[in-house]
């Protein structure tokens, strides 16, 4: 029993940091802020480095590593504010051809939340998979993916389902091909639909985060169901998003500490004031609590620990970015400083996969059933 990364895992993390520092340093980050279109060359380079194929078997050209390793790599990506549909890339590498190598870019959308389906980097994706139902908070029956099937041709407009009206469009989910559970819509097992980028109806959104272009999906065809393990995709998406939050939270502590150690006021470095150093100490505590939860959840791969990890990592990323801003004073409020990029990205990720309220409800519900202790 040891929750700390092994020597190999530390090397993996250091290698990722080195690659990202070299290929996506501060200059490149600031260029991306002004021109947020995905850097396809960088994406292919990430693919070549095994970023997306990390967990595919070596026989299939992957790296053969596991979820804990992916979490460590994603922590680094979050630290560097690396833009792009990273979670989708990691989760769909074995599903959508070309994603593992970075040749093609896939998007993954959470469509199970009424009319609030947001798609990140809509202009950059070659494919889009939409998930309905199968939340980690839903009563979950273990399910195994059935044989994958090639996506079918786009449906005619008559089959186009309205978001939030999942029940009414159940028939369009096509029991005929046996991919969708009959009975109540969505449910524990969930459903996945394949869409080409021009199939969904979109509403433009001017994203708060300059590094995360967004569109709102208002409707999409449900004619091309994919046999995917939706609860697992959701669980892993939430965990990898939490890992990104963790990396961002750890980076904003460093930024705050760096500033507090160099900035002088009243003739001394501001980090010598308890009012400032205690803010920094609380930031570190949030990181270490979130890190403990995220690392452990990557090992258990059960949904509740993932939900808890996401809640704590969300809090760490958002509150650390805000405290970092506070430590920086007026400088922190400028466009030029990187603090706002961490905060805005953290806000985007809070909205992805597990929202605070629903996650907390799931964690509360578990208390009723469980008397085993931690």
């Amino acid at each position: 029993m040891d929750l700390r990364p092994t020597a190999d895992q530390q090397a993996l993390q250091a290698g990722t940091r080195e690659l990202l520092t070299r290929r996506f340093g501060r200059d490149r980050l600031r260029e991306a802020v002004e021109a947020p279109a995905l850097d396809r060359a960088l994406w292919r380079e990430l693919g070549a480095a095994g970023f997306f194929a990390l967990r595919l078997p070596e026989a299939d050209g992957g790296v053969g590593l596991g979820l804990p390793d992916a979490v460590l790599v994603f922590e680094e990506a979050g630290r560097a504010l690396l833009p792009g549909p990273l979670v989708a890339g990691q989760l769909l590498a074995g599903v959508v051809p070309g994603v593992a190598t970075g040749e093609r870019v896939a998007g993954l959308c959470d469509a199970g939340r009424g009319g609030e389906c947001l798609w990140e980097h809509p202009g950059d994706c070659d494919e889009l998979i939409l998930l309905e139902g199968g939340d980690p908070g839903d009563p979950c029956t273990p399910c195994t993916p059935r044989a994958p099937r090639a996506p079918r041709a786009p449906c005619d407009p008559g089959e186009r389902g309205d978001l939030g009206g999942a029940d009414g469009s159940e028939a369009a989910g096509s029991e005929a091909d046996g991919l969708v559970e009959s009975g109540p819509a969505s449910g524990a097992r969930g459903r996945a639909f394949w869409n080409a980028p021009d199939w969904p109806v979109l509403e433009p959104v001017r994203s708060i985060d300059p590094l995360t272009p967004l569109a709102r999906v208002t409707s999409y065809p449900r004619s091309a169901p994919r046999s995917l393990d939706v609860p697992r995709l959701r669980r892993e998406a939430a965990l990898l998003t939490a890992a990104l939050q963790l990396g961002s939270a750890a980076r904003t502590v460093e930024m705050a500490v760096q500033h507090a150690r160099s900035r002088e006021q009243f003739g001394v470095r501001i980090g010598s004031f308890q009012a400032v150093k205690h803010l920094c100490a609380e930031m570190l505590i949030r990181v270490e609590i979130a890190r403990s939860a995220v690392y452990a959840a990557s090992l258990t791969e059960r949904s509740l620990p993932v939900v808890g990890a996401k809640v704590l990592a969300d809090e760490a990323a958002v509150r650390n970015a805000r405290d970092c801003l506070q430590v920086h004073g007026g400088t922190g409020f400028t466009w030029e400083a990187d603090v706002h990029l961490h905060l805005k990205r953290a806000w985007c990720r809070v909205e992805q996969w597990q929202s605070g309220g629903k996650a907390e409800e799931a964690l509360a519900e578990a208390l009723l059933a469980d008397d085993v202790g931690v």
């Binding site: 929750l3 150690r261 609590i289 090992l299």
Partner: protein, 378 residues
Amino acid sequence: MDLTYAPEEEEFRARLREWLAKTLPDLPARPDPLDWPGRRAYDLGWQRRLYDAGYGAVHWDASPTRRLIFLEETERAGAPYVGANFVGLLHAGPTIAAEGTDEQRARWLPPVVRGDEVWCQGFSEPEAGSDLAALRTRAVRDGDDYVVTGQKVWTSHAEIADWCELLVRTDPEAHRHRGISWLAMPMDAPGITVRPLRTLVGPAEFAEVFLDEVRVPVANRVGAEHDGWRVTMVTLSFERGTAFVGEVVACRRTLGGLARAARANGRWDDPVLRRRLGRLNAEFTALWRLIQRNVGAARDAGGVPDAGGSVFKLRYSQVRQELYDAAAEVLGPCGALDADQQWTADRLSSLSYTIAAGTSQIQRDIIAERILGLPKGR
């Protein structure tokens, strides 16, 4: 990263579990909290049983992982808490083991492990709390003795202790950290007056200790003369590292009980309360994982927990208070204001957690200066 325990550790756990299941039903009834001699006998009796079963020195000679398993399993089984043996097993004992001479180890450690002697702690003083190095209790050499005069405060179990681990100033001229020595003071020496202090919970849980020309043999000094500050730091890191493991297990169980109580009395219908409980679930689960991470670090550092203990202690003390605030909400006004409810007493005692063993403010200083490298200053 690995959450699985080695086969020999699982075997250790299984044997312990079996022993606890066999032993706990035969324990005598717990004594009244106001019955000090009864509490002493009960706590020492429990330690004696641990000793007879081979677990007496588990805090010292077992690996950090086994120590964790021990604390987890004893709490889960509802075994007695370390109680009056706290200072002997978790403060003074480890310090003597690390810093004492062979003779000193032979004199003081076996009685602690066997459950024969109780220790208390004489560190804080009225003018030396968070600023422990400001302590003023004087020890003046007189032949083979130190003559000790001064006052200690917040001394738990002083009424029933055989020994006190005492910090004294042996060189008033030296820089404040450099003139301190660590002594083992027999509590039956002439000149010691113990005055119990009532806590805000109600009963007297700790005491003031007045020292008036108490003679302590020089041979009772552990570590070099004037080197007591360094010796003490060893003790404090033990305290922050392992003292709360069982409590986290207990808190998680309390939280489950709270959820079921809320379900039974209808307060579960309040989504704000449910969400609070759900968040606490995430917090305590994460704290448990942080303990497991710290155990790995302690193993590498030769068993002494590092500053990660401060991170844990700070968050744990906050979350424990939040737990009992949530409990008050579950109980409603009649329950929350009823001093006879165990919840209420636990809520009151949770107030000490952000103060005892280093206040939250001191822990933040430690984290900021020792881990983050921020400049010293107040």
